[in-house]
Each structure stands twice: as C-alpha cells, then as structure tokens.
C-alpha cells in the first residue's frame, strides 16, 4: 500500500517537474535522425578509427604503430599544440570584439537591432573561400591595409600580415564572428535590465555592475560562443592554409598532406582521431566552465 502511494507521488512529481515532452510514440520521431547519424556519422567514425590501427599505408597488419609514431615525435605534438593554441587566440580575439558588438545589439532599439543583426549574419551568407580571398586582398603587401598605412605615413614599409600567424588569427576572428555574437546576444537579451538599475541604486559603478552582474549572467553565452568559435577556428582548413601558407603547419593542413600528398591514410586517420579528441576536450572544458560558474551564481 505504502509502495503504491509512494509510486503515485513520484509519478505526480515526475508529471509536474518533468513536463512530458515526449510520449513513447513521439520518441520514435527521432529515430530517422538517429539512424541517419549512425549510418553517416558513427559508422564512418568507427571506420576512421579502424584505418588508424593499420601499421602500413597499404593496410597490412593491425597495431598501434601510427599512435606511437604520433606521440613519439615532438614535431607532431608541436603541431597539435600549435593548432589548439591558435584556436584559443582566435577565440579570445573574437570574444574581445564580439562582446561589445553583442552588447550594442542587445541594447539597440528593434529597428537598429535587426539592421545590426543583418550585418552580423551577412558573412555567413557568403562562402568561407570568398571571405578568405577578400582578406588576401586586404592583408597583402599591396593590399588595402598596407596602402592605407603607408598613405597615412604610419609606417615606412608594408607590414607583413599575409602568411603570418597574426594574419590567420585576425581573419579567423572575423570569419567566425557570427558564431560568437549570436549566442552572446541571446544571453545578454535575457538579462533583466532592472538588475543593472538595482546594482546602480545600491551604489555600484558601471564597471562594477558589469563585472559583478552582467558578465557573470552572460557566462552561458560566452561559453556557448567560445565553444562554437573554438571548434570552427581550430579546424578551419581553408582560412589556415590560404592566409597562413605552408610554413604555418596546423593540423588540418598536416592531415590533408598525409592523406593526399603522402598517401598515408592510417597516419592521417590517427592524426584525425587524436586531433578530434583534443578539440573535444577543450570544448568540454569550456562548457564545464560555463556551467560551473552559472550554477554557483544561481545557487
């Protein structure tokens, strides 16, 4: 009897706390997508892992040779580290420029906001290749940037930006900007403007209000934006190779060289697996950071 009552109570609780979004029938609606993902994402991923376990480029014996080769060479590990670090720098730059932009968008009137949003989203509507080539024209020695610099007398000689890491970081930050601004905007819009007023009424200056109220409340947006931008920057084959050239070797180009130029699929597969794990780890840390801070604030 008691058990039955308890069951009834938990049922009731469950009904109230977990709105039943999905009845068993509706769960099945997700099946086509699940099957699709299993067939076209999980299965190839397993295939990739299997390829990485071959010892020779012509698939003779199984073993961990490729992973030993990867981890046994500081050159390879250096490329992994360079790539992860590149992603971090580009993400940080993107955040520094994206946050004020999102702030302005959030505070603007509805008309100005839709105009700003349109401008922010505009780059997504053009191909990454086109955007990157445009940057070649801007950053080159005879490019817009250097000509302006020389014409204004700010520099005596053109500054090298094309084929340098700072160039790659600048372009990545611009190219991936919408991925940063949109989640930030969403979380900034959710913040009740009264909170800032309350903070001011209690004597906090603007900087303090931002640091103690707005910034912590926008952390989920920062974490989401950084996650998206980081994953996109670290793996941006086109931008990295076109702006960085072959002397800045990051994982996507390295992978491509091993698969296409050197025809060494097992090593390329091992590189892909390790790189994917490394990027996933960083992304996981980022999302943990976002969650941990918000949990503390709301508690």
């Amino acid at each position: 009897m008691n058990a039955a009552v308890a069951e009834g109570v938990t049922d009731e609780l469950r009904r109230r706390t977990l709105p039943r979004l999905f009845s068993p029938v509706e769960w099945q609606l997700a099946l086509p997508l699940a099957l699709f993902l299993i067939a076209f994402f999980v299965a190839p991923l397993i295939g990739l892992a299997v390829v990485s376990l071959y010892c020779e480029p012509n698939f003779q014996t199984l073993g961990l040779v490729q992973y030993r080769r990867l981890f046994g060479d500081s050159f390879n590990l250096g490329i992994v580290a360079d790539t992860l670090w590149l992603g971090a720098k580009a993400t940080l730059l993107c955040l520094v420029f994206g946050y004020p932009l999102a702030w302005v968008c959030a505070r603007a009137g509805p008309r100005l906001r839709s105009l700003l949003l349109f401008i922010v989203v505009l780059p997504i509507l053009t191909s990454v290749v086109v955007r990157t080539f445009a940057w070649i024209v801007i950053l080159g020695r005879q490019g817009l940037f250097n000509r302006t610099l020389l014409a204004l007398g700010l520099s005596d000689a053109p500054i090298d930006l094309l084929f340098t890491e700072p160039g790659v970081i600048i372009v990545l930050a611009q190219v991936q900007m919408p991925l940063m601004v949109l989640p930030l905007l969403t979380s900034l819009q959710r913040i009740d403007p009264n909170l800032a007023d309350a903070s001011a009424a209690l004597g906090a200056g603007e900087w303090r209000t931002f640091r103690r109220v707005i910034l912590p409340l926008s952390l989920p947006g920062i974490a989401a934006g950084c996650t998206l931008v980081y994953a996109a920057c670290a793996t941006a084959f086109i931008t990295q190779t076109l702006i960085g050239g072959a002397r800045h070797l990051y994982m996507p180009l390295f992978l491509y060289q091993q698969a296409s130029g050197a025809n060494d699929w097992p090593f390329a597969a091992a590189l892909a697996i390790v790189f994917m794990a490394a990027v996933l780890l960083v992304v996981l840390l980022l999302s943990l950071l976002g969650r941990a801070r918000t949990a503390r604030i709301y508690a």
Binding site: P57, F75, F133, I136, V137, G140, R141, Q142, G143, D160, L162, F163, E165, T241, L242, G244, G245, A246, R247, H248, L249, L253, F254, Q257, Q258, A259, S260, G261, A262, N263, D264
Partner: protein, 349 residues
C-alpha cells in the same frame, strides 16, 4: 497535433514536394553529363573556354569541370574504389599517374576507337591514356622589380631578394619537380634529394611565402607578395595575359618538364563520353586553339606546330622536346612521403 494547423496530409504533401525537388538534380544529370577533373590555372581556363564547348558541339552532352591537383584526384579515386567514382575523366602528371596505375584506378584508352591517337608523336602515345601536353617549369619573376632576368635556380639565392621568393608545397608536381631539379643541379637527383634540402635551408631567409596549394601560388604574384618563384611556363603565360606583372625565365641548366595526360576512370558513368572528351583534347583543331595565348599549351599532336612563345622559351621544335630534363617519377614516388615530412620540418616557422 491538430491544434497546430498542420495536418498530416499537409506534411506529407510538403515532404513529397521537397523530395521531388531534391531529386531534380539527379534527373538533370541523367541527361548526358560528364564530370572531368582539371588542374587550376591555365588548364581550367583552357578546358572551360575551348574543350568543353567543342565537346558539347560534338556530343550534345555537357561537361562539368572539377579543379583538383593530381594527388587529390588519386586520393579521392582510391577512397571511392568499389563505388561510383566522383569524376569520369582524370588529368594526371607522371608521378601521380604511376600511383593511379598501381592502384588500378584507370581503364585502358580504347585506341582503336580514337580518331586522333595515331596523330600523336610516338613519345606521347600511351595505352593508358594519351599525353595531352608537356608542362615545363622555370622561374616566374616580376619584371618591374627584377631587371635582369634570372637564368638558374641559384639566382633565387641572391641576397637582394630577401623575403621576396615564393615556393609551393610538395603536393603539386611543380613543388616536387622543383625540389628534384634543385637536387640535380647541386649534384643529387631522384635518388639523392639531400642536396636540395641543404640548398633549401640556405634559401629560407629569402623565402617570403610558401603557398600550401598551387591555386594560391598565382595570388602571390597577383598581390605582389613575392617577386620571384619557381613556376610553370603555361601558368606564367596565362597570368601575364590577365595583366599581372610576371615573366617566364628559361633555366640555362636545363628545362625540367613532365608529360600530362587524360584518363578514363575505372567505373566511369559514361565511358563513351569520356573517350569523346579525351579524344577532343588531342584533336589538332583543339590543340591549335589551346596553343594560342593566353594558354600557350604545348601540343602533342604532330600536326600542330609549337606556339611561338614555347619555341622561344622551351624548345625550338617538337623534336627538341625530348631533350628537356625528365625525371624518374617511380623513384620520386618512393621518396615522396619522407620528403614531404622533411620539407615540413625544414620550413616550419
């Protein structure tokens, strides 16, 4: 669901409409369409402007060009082995061609059905696919910045060109041929690449940029990011015709060259169209059109004379083409992956 104003019939109707729409490209493709691989630069330009229209007139079919380096073609074809290949006609340089033949990626060229195969000079006949041209390399330079035309690789080392030299990665035949020839003039060759790496180390202070892919090499000259670089004869001619300040300089130490060929991919969807396309490329009419500026493609059909610029810069006559510097690509292929790795280590900043 009923209150959402979204009936099941509605949903199914939309789904069907979307399905039909998605199937449309397949239907359009079913009406004769050939997919042919082409190289960036001159080749893409010439194929689009000359060969594809001719092919359309001759067969009534359309051809889609897809731009890829030969090594990329091999990678894609070997990945697609056993299923429908991503393109029907491959364009190959000598090194990747050997890889492709080893992996059984191509069909033999139906010589008996070809109208123009017999007109090719004997050195350009190949049962696996006719050679459509010779690609020669030398030095591309900006005549506005460099007044004395360079004559040998050694000229790239001139301290005056600090930061002004461009190179390209080893995934292209240009990059690979440059390294092998650099080894050759320094006492090495296909079996001994070390002299090239020794020279490369000395060259690095002069190197302003190394393009990761050949397509971006042109942008280096266009944006005046560099003034001097190893480059293909045809690419320089095409770039010059587009108004870029660039000239081709012939190497006194010998002109490195390789043969470029077209092949029917094994399992091609339209082998007959592939034959028509490839045969079109060795048709004297097409080769004559492609030998004109801005392409200056070196012909392989005995009925077509060498273009004047090729006579001036590459070889005085067709018979002299055999005196260019050719490499043993079998040996180069054996070293390829180790050289790419060494190149990465030497050049990385």
């Amino acid at each position: 669901m009923s209150n959402s104003g979204f009936s099941r019939r509605h949903l199914i109707g939309t789904g069907l409409a979307l399905g039909t729409w998605a199937a449309m490209p397949r239907l359009a493709r079913a009406a004769d369409m050939l997919v042919a691989a082409t190289f960036p630069g001159t080749w893409n330009d010439a194929h689009k402007a000359v060969l594809v229209p001719y092919f359309h007139k001759a067969t009534g079919a359309d051809a889609t060009l897809t731009i890829m380096l030969a090594t990329d073609e091999i990678a894609k074809l070997s990945a697609a082995k056993g299923s429908a290949p991503p393109f029907d006609v491959a364009i190959m340089d000598e090194g990747p061609l050997l890889d492709g033949l080893d992996q059984g990626l191509f069909d033999k060229f139906p010589v008996a059905k070809s109208r123009h195969y017999g007109e090719l000079l004997p050195v350009f006949q190949d049962e696996w696919g006719p050679k459509i041209s010779i690609q020669a390399i030398g030095i591309g330079y900006n005549p506005k910045k460099i007044k004395i035309p360079p004559t040998k690789w050694d000229d790239l080392f001139n301290p005056a060109y600090k930061g002004r030299v461009g190179l390209t990665a080893l995934n292209s035949t240009l990059g690979m041929a440059f390294m092998v020839d650099l080894a050759r003039v320094n006492g090495g060759g296909e079996s001994n690449i070390e002299p090239a790496f020794t020279a490369l180390k000395k060259l690095l202070p002069n190197v302003g940029a190394i393009s990761a892919n050949l397509g971006a090499h042109a942008a280096l000259f266009q944006q005046e990011q560099i003034d001097i670089a190893p480059y293909n004869f045809n690419f320089v001619q095409t770039l010059k015709a587009k108004g870029v300040d660039v000239e081709f300089a012939r190497l006194e130490t010998g002109v490195p060259a390789w043969r470029t060929s077209l092949h029917t991919v094994k399992g091609a969807q339209k082998p007959d169209l592939a034959l028509a396309y490839i045969d079109g490329h060795i048709d004297p009419e097409i080769q004559a059109a492609m030998s004109k500026p801005p392409y200056d493609v070196i012909p392989t059909n005995s009925k077509v004379p060498l273009p004047p610029e090729a006579v001036r810069l590459i070889a005085p006559s067709q018979a002299d083409l055999s005196k260019l510097v050719y490499f043993d690509w079998r040996k180069i292929n054996q070293g390829r992956s180790a050289w790419i790795e060494q190149f990465n280590r030497e050049i990385k900043i």
